[in-house]
């Protein structure tokens, strides 16, 4: 938090219209784009890892994929969407939404046993046996 505060202090409001001057140039955009393409290629390659390495690569592939996803996300947000160059208020606004989304839905998924999901239709619970008859000769018991 304190970092954000100091960052803010030297950011006097830009004059609307002037702040465009310090956005990336076309050349820089191309560089970022090629970086993104490379990362995407890497991502897609995980699909064949199992075959290439002849092993179950899921344990490695998933963290790699998630990392790449985050990097791509921020490359687009910070550069293409100018978050890096614009007023910090915009960054905060967007991050607020993101963080609330991650925390809240993360918690909800946890409560719904998502991380330990066994994939059964019974949501991790063993199928319920029909209740034992309350008394032997009750109708329908």
């Amino acid at each position: 938090m304190s970092a954000a505060v100091t960052e803010l202090d030297d950011d006097s409001p830009v004059n609307p219209g002037e702040h465009h001057t310090h956005g990336p140039t076309d050349g820089q955009y191309f560089k970022i784009f090629f970086l993104l393409v490379g990362l995407t290629a890497l991502e897609v390659s995980t699909y064949w890892w199992d075959d290439i390495f002849n092993a179950d690569t899921k344990k490695i592939a998933v963290p790699v994929l998630l990392t790449l996803m985050v990097i791509k996300f921020f490359l687009v947000a910070l550069y293409f969407m100018h978050l890096k160059f614009d007023s910090p208020l915009l960054k905060r606004t967007f991050y607020a939404g993101m963080i609330i989304a991650i925390l809240v839905y993360g918690a909800a998924l946890t409560v719904m046993n998502f991380w330990s999901d066994s994939g059964t239709t019974h949501f991790n619970n063993p199928p319920i046996d029909p209740p034992a008859p309350f008394c032997a000769d009750c109708p329908g018991g």
């Binding site: 002037e18 607020a96 939404g97 925390l103 909800a108 409560v111 239709t121």
Partner: protein, 689 residues
């Protein structure tokens, strides 16, 4: 209604050409409308004050609708074994009551105040996006009427305001009531989203010079928190409602356990929205009380940073407690424990507020005018509701209380005793600013005491009933259950509340008549108040501030009136008349009216009917929406004729000029197509099917 007819005070006093000036417009139909008198001036207005008043009138109308439903509920329950309402009708009545009160009374009434007051309190001439402001009003109203039209079209929703799955699925609720619930709330949600974005940007961007965030009045602050909460909470219920619509109309099974779906998902999504929602409902009233109490205690608000901070804290923590509504759902011990703890913590910032109000009153020169009475009423009643809230934060206790009348007592103490009492106080307080005359003081006192007594008689006994085991949402009970006496008391109380509302309406009518016969202007500052809205004439002129004030301190207006002498005693340094604004504006540039928001909004319920009954209905709806957007984009940004000496100054038309940011309008169209984008998703996304 007197409120609507009373336009005279809002008529333009100065600053505008007469309506008759004809100007040849190159764009024909897209010229901005000019009427600024008569009903047209209300239909096409983009003035935040008129929009606020319309929100107020409409929400009061729905208060009467919801109140009528409440009386039906209470009549049904007044005696055991009553057959006034059938079980099915009872379900519909309490559901419609709840949804109406939450989404069509408390929220829009708060919007009324927010719209009217935020620009005034931050020293702005209007909101950031005036046309979008009109749009959100009309969309909300269209959705509200759509929702209530279900009474005539096959029966209202009957799943409770939280509309739990799987009961809400087609299997158990085959009628169309719940479809109206889903689509009605989606439509209203679009309106609220538009308005929340608009007001968030307004607070951030439209402040007068020197009005830093920490100099904003507490009312504006609390509403700012509310708007931010809305921005983040509405999409959550939008997801839930979308899934519900897909389930009910397009054959999905998201909430149908028999087909692999999970009813829990609805509960989670609803309450992730639902708990922030309860603070969305109560914080505006907290803000009003925080304005009223200092004025009638003649002391500044105690602990302003804490007041603001606790509001933010409530808003923030409100995201982490939702599952306290699901303690009995079997979600697992760890979850119950975690949410029980977080719920206990959230009572702390709430308590801070209560202590701060009391500390503000402590040692003040108290004057118990009607607004103050309502505010003190809020402090007391809300405390009771907050305390019962804490009792069901403890999960073991809550498993006894949940779904009983004890819960009903809790949330009525916080919502009626908190939100509604506060807003009633707000009405008495800001009435002179809005309409240029006072509401009757004596009648107002009758109103207050009747309401307070009726309220406690209605909801107090519900604590007892709940602990005795009376379940909510059950249409009747038997005489040997021992519930009869308190239910009778409660019903009596409900009618006393109804009487108090009649008194209020009488007050509105009679004070208006009195004012017409013998107009006495209350002056800019009838209460010797503190914030900027009291600096401008009453009723507030169309342009708000003739000259945008430069703010130096919190409670700026007060500090212009009072200072300290050499002994540190409070003294008057200027006469009120000298401080308030009197000059006429010369170059005020106001946004021109527009019909397109209304056109756009009218399309939405048609799409809704189309989805429910016959897709052909959606066709005119979509046409209206498209026409609305098209007209919106095409109409000239600001009508040059309506401006006053301050014309737009565009350079070479072909030269893009990023530096030219006019206050508000041009690119607004883009933004609206973005939000209309989500409109498309929710309202007519299913068209293709």
């Amino acid at each position: 209604m007197a409120i609507i007819e009373d336009q005279r005070p809002l008529e333009l006093t100065t600053g505008h050409e007469p309506a008759a000036t004809e100007s040849p417009s190159p764009l024909g139909v897209f010229a901005r409308p000019k009427a600024n008198t008569g009903w047209r001036s209300w239909v096409n207005t983009v003035d935040h004050k008129k929009i606020g008043i319309m929100y107020g009138v409409a929400s009061f109308f729905f208060l009467l609708v919801g109140g009528f439903e409440a009386l039906l509920i209470r009549l049904q329950l007044s005696v055991p074994g009553n057959q006034l309402l059938s079980a099915d009708l009872y379900n519909q009545v309490f559901t419609m009551h709840g949804v109406t009160m939450v989404f069509m009374v408390i929220m829009p009434m708060a919007s009324a105040f927010a719209n009217y007051l935020i620009p005034l309190q931050i020293g702005a001439r209007d909101v950031s996006f005036p046309r979008m402001n009109a749009l959100s009003l009309w969309i909300w109203l269209a959705g509200a009427i759509f929702f209530n039209s279900s009474w005539l079209l096959g029966g209202g929703a009957n799943g409770g305001w939280f509309n739990y799955a799987p009961n809400a699925g087609v299997t158990f609720s085959p009628g169309t009531g719940i479809d109206f619930y889903a689509i009605g709330l989606l439509i209203m949600g679009i309106g609220s989203t538009v308005s929340a974005v608009n007001l968030t940007v307004t607070v951030l961007n439209m402040r007068a010079p020197g009005m830093t965030l920490m100099k904003m009045p507490v009312f504006t602050w609390m509403n700012f928190v509310v708007q931010v909460l809305l921005v983040f909470a509405l999409p959550v219920i939008t997801v839930a409602l979308l899934l519900l619509t897909l389930d009910r109309m397009f054959g999905a099974a998201f909430f149908d356990a028999s087909k692999g779906g999970d009813p829990f998902l609805w509960e989670h999504l609803f309450w992730i929205f639902g708990h922030p929602e309860v603070y969305i409902m109560v914080l505006p009233a907290f803000g009003m009380v925080s304005e009223i109490i200092p004025v009638f205690s003649r002391k500044p608000i105690f602990g302003y940073p804490f007041m603001v901070g606790s509001g933010i804290a409530i808003g923030f923590m409100g995201w982490g407690v939702w599952a306290h509504h699901m303690f009995a759902s079997g979600m697992g011990q760890l979850s119950v424990l975690a949410f029980s703890l977080s719920t206990l913590f959230i009572a702390v910032p709430t308590g801070v507020k209560i202590l701060n109000w009391m500390a503000t009153m402590y040692g003040g020169r108290l004057k118990f005018s009607v607004p103050m009475l309502f505010s003190v009423g809020l402090v007391g009643m809300f405390t009771i509701g907050g305390l019962s809230g804490v009792t069901h934060a403890f999960a073991p206790a809550d498993t006894q209380q949940t779904d009983t009348y004890y819960i009903v007592a809790h949330f009525h103490y916080v919502l009626f005793g908190g939100a509604l009492l506060g807003m009633m106080g707000g009405l008495y307080f800001w009435w002179p600013k809005m309409f240029g005359h006072f509401l009757g003081e004596r009648t107002g006192k009758w109103h207050f005491w009747l309401m307070l007594v009726g309220f406690n008689l209605t909801f107090g006994p519900m604590h007892i009933l709940g602990l005795q085991g009376m379940m909510r949402r059950t249409y009747t009970y038997t005489s040997n259950q021992g519930f009869s006496m308190w239910n009778m008391v409660s019903t009596t109380g409900a009618f006393i509340i109804a009487l108090s509302l009649l008194v209020f309406m009488g007050n509105v009518v009679f004070s208006y008549r009195k004012h017409r016969k013998n107009p006495v202007n209350p002056g800019a500052d009838p209460w010797d108040a503190r914030s900027l809205e009291w600096m401008i004439p009453s009723p507030a002129p169309e342009y708000n501030f003739a000259e945008i004030p430069v703010v130096e301190e919190f409670d700026e207006f007060w500090h212009r009136k009072y200072g300290h002498d050499e002994n540190g005693r409070l003294v008057r340094i200027a006469k009120t008349e000298d401080v308030v604004e009197s000059s006429d504006p010369v170059t005020v540039h106001l946004p021109s009216p527009s019909y397109w928001p209304l056109v756009l909004a009218l399309g939405m319920p048609l799409v809704g009917y189309g989805l429910i009954f016959n897709l052909w209905w959606a066709v005119p709806g979509v046409i209206l929406i498209v026409a609305g957007i098209y007209g919106w984009v095409m109409e000239p940004a600001t009508d040059p004729d309506a401006s006053h000496g301050h014309d737009d100054h565009h350079g070479d038309p072909d030269e893009p000029d990023a530096a030219e940011i006019e206050a508000g309008e041009s690119a607004e169209s883009e933004l609206v197509s973005a939000s209309a984008g989500s409109a498309g998703v929710t309202a007519d996304g299913g068209d293709s099917q």
